[in-house]
């Protein structure tokens, strides 16, 4: 059930109405049921997977929590009789046991994810190696199920598992409530990845229908539809056309494709998240924001703090920190400091753990070398900009343009271009082709290629470009206003007729200019592939 399908709207309407009708006590149970129905409609088999993850996480977090609780009581009692070293030993012994429990559950669930998602990728690589060494043997690729949103719910529940292990949140006693946390339907398909502490409160609370909450939620959903249907899906055919026929579209087209994709991806992804968060909001549930106007970032590090935020912070909290400050790493750091000097020694932990994070981010995005190279590319760019920091500082101390509008604009454009270049790995078939096309962008660049008629050959008509242009202006305008607070709140302050006109106009825009239905057969086809 795609967010932009009619079925989803019906499903949502039924869920919202029933949610506020059922007794407040069982609202959360109803949500759990809705989530499972949502999953069941996608495919009944998927339920087994999500339930397995839920139950395993439940069991292990309960065990860890019980251990923790009994240990604390026990420890308090014996604390006074022990000296410092003994206390330390006992504590670390307990921690080790908890760690082991946590790891079993973690590896089990990541194992499922890995097998589902990466088996064929691994087989492909093995076959390549077999070919490279001259063997004629080949492994057959297998048909794996890839349960909907498995990457998202696995990460969300693993975050919870680690939080319980760390003691930053206490384990949920009610299996049903945990199941709801894992399967909360708005964020099941494409995130955001919520933390238990953030989501749990409003998720399990009792909610009374509130006019403002519900309308705000619906307005957010409408905005998401606008981004997805009017902009992203309208633009998609052109992106696919350019990236699909690499012999035809070179030089300046590569740049066009790159920029189109930047817009398409932004509209598609943030639109989907808007629908997810808006849906949760209509139910009175607060979900963490996943984007903060990422294309206004002035450097790539900032960009990653503003794009897909929940994923980035997940990687930082659960991979970057643990790796970079774990004891072995500190030892490595000390060792290298001794042998290679202060300069390198300081950098070793950061480089190693950043590499791990970006490698993992790449792998997480998809089972292909494209994404891995893309992740590493991000790593390289971030590290370079990190090393250049002293230079920038020196530069700004000499020339004071830091706060000039034009310089800021330059920084923003630079960051967007940089990210778009990296994202080319997303578009092209394989890594060598991406590099080739990247080169072509410079060697074959000929601005005269881009005539008006050439643009029409990309599968979009003049009217499409006009709509896209108008849509983009609206996007930018809204983003600019948004910097000073919620746009919806600002509109809500207006008089009723003004509100009505604004939202009705947006609704009509989606209804008429949206790319859906039989009139858009080609996009229909693209949907079906995914």
């Amino acid at each position: 059930m795609l967010f932009t399908s009619f079925e989803f709207l019906v499903f949502l309407a039924v869920v919202i109405v029933c949610y506020y009708i059922v007794p407040k006590k069982i609202q959360w149970i109803f949500l759990l049921a809705a989530g499972y129905v949502f999953y069941f409609i996608a495919s009944p088999v998927y339920l087994i997977y999500i339930m397995t993850t839920t139950v395993s996480v439940y069991i292990f977090t309960r065990i860890i929590q019980t251990r923790k609780d009994t240990f604390d009581i026990h420890f308090k009692k014996i604390k006074k009789q022990l000296d410092r070293q003994q206390r330390k030993d006992i504590k670390s012994q307990e921690k080790k046991k908890e760690f082991r429990l946590m790891m079993i559950c973690l590896l089990f669930n990541l194992g499922i994810l890995a097998v589902c998602k990466y088996t064929n990728f691994a087989i492909g690589n093995i076959n390549f190696l077999l070919g490279a060494v001259g063997s004629s043997k080949r492994l057959l690729t297998v048909n794996m199920i890839l349960p909907m949103g498995i990457s998202f719910y696995t990460f969300q529940s693993m975050g919870y598992l680690i939080d319980v292990y760390r003691g930053t949140c206490s384990a949920e006693k009610n299996l049903g409530k945990l199941a709801l946390f894992v399967s909360f339907f708005p964020q099941l398909v494409q995130g955001p990845i919520s933390r238990f502490n953030d989501l749990s409160k409003s998720l399990f609370e009792k909610h009374t229908a509130d006019y403002n909450t519900i309308t705000f939620g619906m307005q957010r959903i409408l905005w998401g539809f606008f981004k997805k249907l009017v902009i992203a899906d309208r633009l998609l055919p052109a992106v696919l056309e350019i990236c699909g026929d690499t012999s035809k579209y070179q030089g300046a087209y590569v740049l066009v494709g790159m920029l189109f994709y930047a817009l398409e991806l932004y509209a598609d992804f943030t639109g989907g998240i808007d629908i997810a968060i808006g849906t949760a909001q209509t139910l009175g549930i607060h979900v963490t924001e996943n984007f903060r106007r990422p294309y206004f970032s002035k450097n790539i590090k900032e960009y990653w703090n503003r794009w897909h935020i929940t994923m980035g912070s997940w990687f930082t909290d659960y991979i970057f920190y643990p790796i970079s400050i774990c004891k072995p790493m500190l030892k490595v750091s000390k060792f290298s400091r001794k042998h290679f000097g202060e300069f390198i020694g300081k950098r070793v932990p950061i480089y190693l753990s950043s590499f791990a994070v970006w490698f993992a981010t790449g792998v997480w995005h998809g089972a292909s070398w494209n994404f891995i190279v893309w992740g590493i590319g991000n790593f390289v760019v971030i590290m370079i900009s990190q090393e250049c920091e002293p230079f920038y500082r020196w530069f700004h101390s000499k020339i004071n343009i830091k706060d000039k509008f034009l310089f800021k604009l330059f920084q923003i454009v630079r960051t967007v271009l940089l990210m778009s270049c990296l994202r080319m790995f997303d578009c092209y078939r394989d890594v060598p082709l991406t590099f080739k096309m990247f080169g072509k962008m410079f060697t074959g660049f000929d601005i005269s290629q881009l005539s008006v008629s050439a643009f029409q050959l990309l599968g979009l008509a003049i009217s499409d470009y006009i709509i896209l242009f108008g849509g983009m202006i609206l996007l930018v305008a809204v983003s600019i206003i948004q910097r000073k607070g919620s746009v919806r709140a600002k509109i809500a302050e207006r008089k009723a007729p003004v509100r009505f006109i604004i939202w009705y106009a947006l609704f009509l825009t989606v209804l008429i200019f949206g790319t859906y239905g039989i009139g858009y057969d080609s996009s229909q086809f693209i949907y079906n592939q995914f």
């Binding site: 795609l2 996608a42 495919s43 088999v45 087994i48 997977y49 397995t52 082991r100 790891m103 079993i104 559950c105 590896l107 089990f108 669930n109 194992g111 499922i112 890995a114 097998v115 589902c116 088996t119 297998v142 048909n143 794996m144 199920i145 890839l146 349960p147 909907m148 949103g149 498995i150 990457s151 998202f152 398909v189 494409q190 992106v239 696919l240 990236c243 699909g244 026929d245 994709y261 991806l265 598609d268 992804f269 989907g272 995005h365 998809g366 292909s368 494209n370 994404f371 790995f425 997303d426 578009c427 092209y428 078939r429 693209i526 592939q529 995914f530």
Partner: protein, 192 residues
């Protein structure tokens, strides 16, 4: 250390068990958006020169002409030369014509799509020509099964073989092939 290895192994084995018994043809709908463009662009590597499905070899003006359904008639027409007989039928209400080109031993029908004429059917008219696999009108059902196997679908007297998106049908009367026709999905639907 041993314990650790055991932990890892058991976890991996468990997860493999779980995924392995579930594998089947369920469609992948993971909406991890970032996968999108890369996957779709992989399909565009096929060559276009080779025809898919059942192919009929006709004698053209300059040697053999390979024809199959769902390809454009214009190119074929150039190679085959003018037909002996040509008929066009306007589709009800819509613009575009269903066309029939009759040559001495066979007949080709087209239907309009996107300003192009695509071949919907190739029909044998006598026993002077053969399919690429060597069958002609007048041969027996056994010969047909020998050449094409028994993996056919039977519709009345018609035996239909499917290959990619093209169909090859034999009408058999009293064990003898009385008609041979290549046809496409577009036509298949109409006759249901």
């Amino acid at each position: 250390m041993k314990k650790k290895i055991f932990t890892v192994l058991s976890a991996v084995v468990l997860s493999i068990c779980l995924t392995a018994c579930g594998s089947n043809d369920v469609k992948v709908i993971e909406n991890n958006k970032d996968d999108k463009a890369s996957e779709s662009s992989t399909d565009n590597s096929g060559e276009t020169s080779k025809l898919k499905g059942y192919v009929f070899e006709a004698d053209g003006q300059n040697g053999k002409v390979s024809i199959t359904t769902e390809i454009e008639m214009n190119d074929i027409l150039k190679q085959l030369g003018d037909p002996d007989n040509y008929f066009e039928a306007e589709s009800c209400a819509f613009k575009g014509l269903d066309k029939t080109y009759t040559y001495s031993h066979y007949e080709i029908q087209t239907y309009p799509e996107d300003k192009k004429d695509l071949i919907s059917c190739i029909l044998f008219k006598d026993d002077m020509i053969k399919t690429a696999e060597g069958l002609s009108i007048g041969m027996t059902k056994d010969q047909m099964e020998e050449a094409y196997g028994t993996d056919y679908e039977q519709k009345g007297a018609m035996y239909v073989y499917k290959k990619d998106s093209s169909f090859l049908g034999f009408i058999i009367q009293d064990n003898i092939i009385s008609s041979i026709q290549y046809f496409s999905d577009a036509l298949e639907q109409q006759q249901n």
